[in-house]
């Protein structure tokens, strides 16, 4: 009994295993601020076919971007750069981070295709989620994230790659446009979060 009590007390402040537990709990206890991405009505379905939403990582700092599974160049690069960013974090920081990717190509990116892409990219399925949504919501999210895109006749898409970091409540705090540039501002912003 005493052991159990000690264990429970141990969970109160951040534990060595999860030093950010307090911040996560605090964020979940507060109402969403008006400028949170998570206030948007954007029904998503994740790579496991489960209903989801942009706020799936609420409580955790989250990187949000858009991609499509059959994208040959830019999207694998984007994923690789996020993984490289993660490699620079401490184990605890990495465990605290979430990554939410939403497909620009809802016609082809079914949950099964997204699951295959997640495996191909070798992402950590516990913290990364890949999503699809309906066309009208794709355009909405692209406008919210300032991502430009259009379909090309050959089935590919033109799209800009913008990686947005949102805080524990879904407020934008930093972004990186294009590929190949430094991710330092994102790492700094992540470490500067309360």
């Amino acid at each position: 009994m005493m052991m159990l009590l000690l264990w429970l007390v141990g969970c109160g402040p951040g534990t060595p295993e999860d030093p950010y537990a307090d911040q996560v709990a605090a964020a979940l206890a507060e109402p969403l601020p008006a400028d949170s991405l998570y206030t948007l009505e954007l029904p998503l379905v994740d790579q496991h076919g489960r209903p989801s939403g942009l706020g799936v990582g609420r409580g955790h700092p989250t990187l949000v971007s858009m991609f499509y599974a059959s994208c040959p160049t830019a999207c694998p690069m984007l994923v690789g750069e996020v993984q490289a960013l993660e490699d620079r974090l401490t184990a605890a920081e990495r465990a605290d981070l979430r990554v939410v990717l939403v497909s620009l190509d809802p016609d082809r990116d079914t949950p099964a295709v997204l699951a295959e892409a997640a495996e191909r990219y070798g992402v950590d399925g516990a913290r990364w989620s890949l999503h699809r949504t309906e066309d009208e919501h794709v355009r909405t999210l692209s406008a919210v994230l300032d991502i430009q895109y259009r379909d090309l006749p050959d089935g590919e898409m033109n799209h800009s790659t913008i990686l947005t970091l949102v805080d524990r409540q879904g407020r934008k705090v930093a972004r990186r446009d294009g590929l190949g540039g430094t991710v330092d501002p994102l790492v700094d912003a992540l470490r500067g979060l309360p």
Partner: protein, 241 residues
């Protein structure tokens, strides 16, 4: 409130049938196949007025200046007062889209809008008519400090659509489809890295300068932006035959 909204919409711009056809976008998705097919659809014969938009806001406080989410409209949203018959301006893309959805319509795509905008009072495609182009260009050169005219006063084009030119700029559904934005720090390579696909921006017809200005203007917009000369009109799919 709902009744007022219904009543207002009953007198709002009416949808005009636009037959299908081909047109060449200024910046085609595939420069090798510039001709783009536009399916038949319907387009409001005039822009949405300030009075109509006010009724919408009354019916849905989520779109009032104090109620709107900051992500969906910037600080200038619906700022200032407008006469009821003027085209509504200082509306964000999100708000324009919500208005059309509430009216059972949608925003026109850029292709649809530009396809109809080629028309003069006498021709479906006046984009090769220098006199017509000059008339349009004169508007873009007018100072924007002039008061906005009332909607529906301009000469209708061959489809019966008013005010595509000469009143306000208008939102389209896919305003963010054009990738002009380059990462200047990296020159050409940066461009290539920033986008999937091979889409380089290459205009097909630069003689239509007004058109070029519209494309450039749209590409500078963000969904939450509002300006004193940017409004919208709604569209709808063609009714099933």
């Amino acid at each position: 409130m709902a009744l007022l909204w219904w009543f207002t919409m009953a007198f709002a711009g009416s949808l005009v049938f636009i037959p299908s056809g081909h047109y060449e976008p200024l910046i085609p998705a595939d420069p090798d196949q510039p001709i783009t097919e536009v399916a038949a659809f319907r387009l409001d014969d005039r822009p949405v007025t300030a009075g109509e938009f006010a009724a919408f806001v009354d019916s849905d406080p989520r779109w009032s200046p104090s109620g709107v989410a900051p992500l969906l409209a910037d600080a200038g949203y619906l700022e200032g007062t407008q006469r009821p018959g003027e085209p509504v301006v200082r509306v964000s893309w999100f708000a324009a889209r919500a208005f059309c959805a509430a009216a059972g319509k949608r925003l026109p795509t850029e292709d649809e809008w530009e396809y109809v905008a080629r028309a003069s009072a006498t021709q479906a495609d006046a984009s090769d008519d220098p006199e017509h182009l000059q008339t349009l260009l004169a508007w873009y050169g007018r100072p924007s400090s002039d008061a906005l005219p009332m909607v529906g006063q301009g000469v209708a084009n061959v489809y019966g659509v008013h005010d595509l030119h000469g009143v306000v700029w208008e939102w389209v559904e896919d305003f963010n489809n054009t990738l002009f934005v380059a990462d200047g720090r990296q020159g050409g390579d940066g461009d290539r890295l920033a986008f999937c696909g091979a889409g380089a921006v290459s205009a097909t017809d630069v003689s239509d300068y007004a058109r070029f200005m519209r494309v450039a203007f749209r590409s500078s917009l963000r969904g939450s932006y509002t300006t004193s000369n940017l409004g919208f009109r709604c569209a709808a799919d063609a009714e099933a035959p």
